[in-house]
Symmetry: C2
Subunit: 150 residues, 2 copies
DNA sequence: TTAATGTTGACAAAATTAGTAGGGTATAAT
DNA sequence: ATTATACCCTACTAATTTTGTCAACATTAA
């Protein structure tokens, strides 16, 4: 498990916000119950996301959290980097640390891994996730109908 | 930093073995001094790698560790998986945990990330690392020569 | 006003990481 | 044979990170 609960919980919760995009704020309580995540813990995650400008809050009764931008403008990478910190595989990017030649050989690998991860997470938006989600639901529906026919 | 020292140290140390492939065993002491890694700690990492059949040992004076296979037959993925455990981004592969639809939406993303990482680390061998290493050295040599000319 | 909600900061249990310590065993060199 | 060098193995531990909990407070809708 290379992602901690921060990234996993946070991504799920933000996806939930995107499901409710345009329909007013969603309360923490609702999200934490739906996904069975500690309310206070989620709060800390959302606090960071708010500071970085990805979500907004509405205080008071009927308040809650909502996306600050359209789902298509928020990438998975933005969320994960905010919550998990930089997705680096090595401290060895700094040339000065890396004096001895044989160490540099491994740095190339670490860079490749990093780039391939960035490539994925920076090119998936919340809107993409929603599309994928719809497809999964549609597939399941078909399966269930086939089951009922037989 | 998504890789712990286990993976980072281990990969560096195994690369060192590949540099010495065909030239007899390399002692832990030598490696731990070269990379400034705790000898006892490295020992634990190598112990796992030995159990999984990637390296062999020669006991006694002048003994040490050596690759059990050719560098081209050992992938970065083998080493990292041995030392870091499975490279999974989510516990959610298990369908039963994943009853609620909205959770499944994030699973797709986690699967993509996982696959892209696997794709990288399973397709780079120690021999590839050595090639890359040679290129870096060659480039640096050219740079130095240019510096001396000016 | 009151109940619902977000805000903040301090605290803490649990797990993981990153080693240490130390007693073994095997073997090459002398 | 002895000794130095090296791997082998088990336990322990300090530090850090993760994963929360708790409590007091601020804001706002009804």
């Amino acid at each position: 498990m290379i992602l901690s609960t921060k990234g996993r919980y946070g991504l799920k919760a933000v996806f939930e916000l995107s499901l409710n995009y345009g329909e007013g704020p969603v309360s923490l309580k609702k999200i934490s119950e739906k996904y069975d995540i500690s309310e206070n813990y989620l709060e800390q995650l959302f606090s960071k996301l708010k500071k970085n400008g990805y979500i907004e809050t509405v205080r008071g009764a009927q308040g809650g959290y909502l996306l600050a931008k359209e789902p298509k403008e928020i990438t998975v990478g933005m969320i994960l980097r905010t919550l998990e910190g930089e997705i680096t595989t090595s401290e060895c990017l700094n040339r000065e640390v890396c004096v001895r030649e044989s160490i540099c050989a491994t740095r190339g690998i670490f860079e490749k891994i990093e780039n391939s991860i960035s490539n994925v997470i920076d090119n998936i938006t919340l809107a993409d996730m929603y599309e994928e989600h719809k497809n999964i639901i549609a597939e399941e529906k078909i399966k269930n109908e086939q089951k009922n026919l037989s």
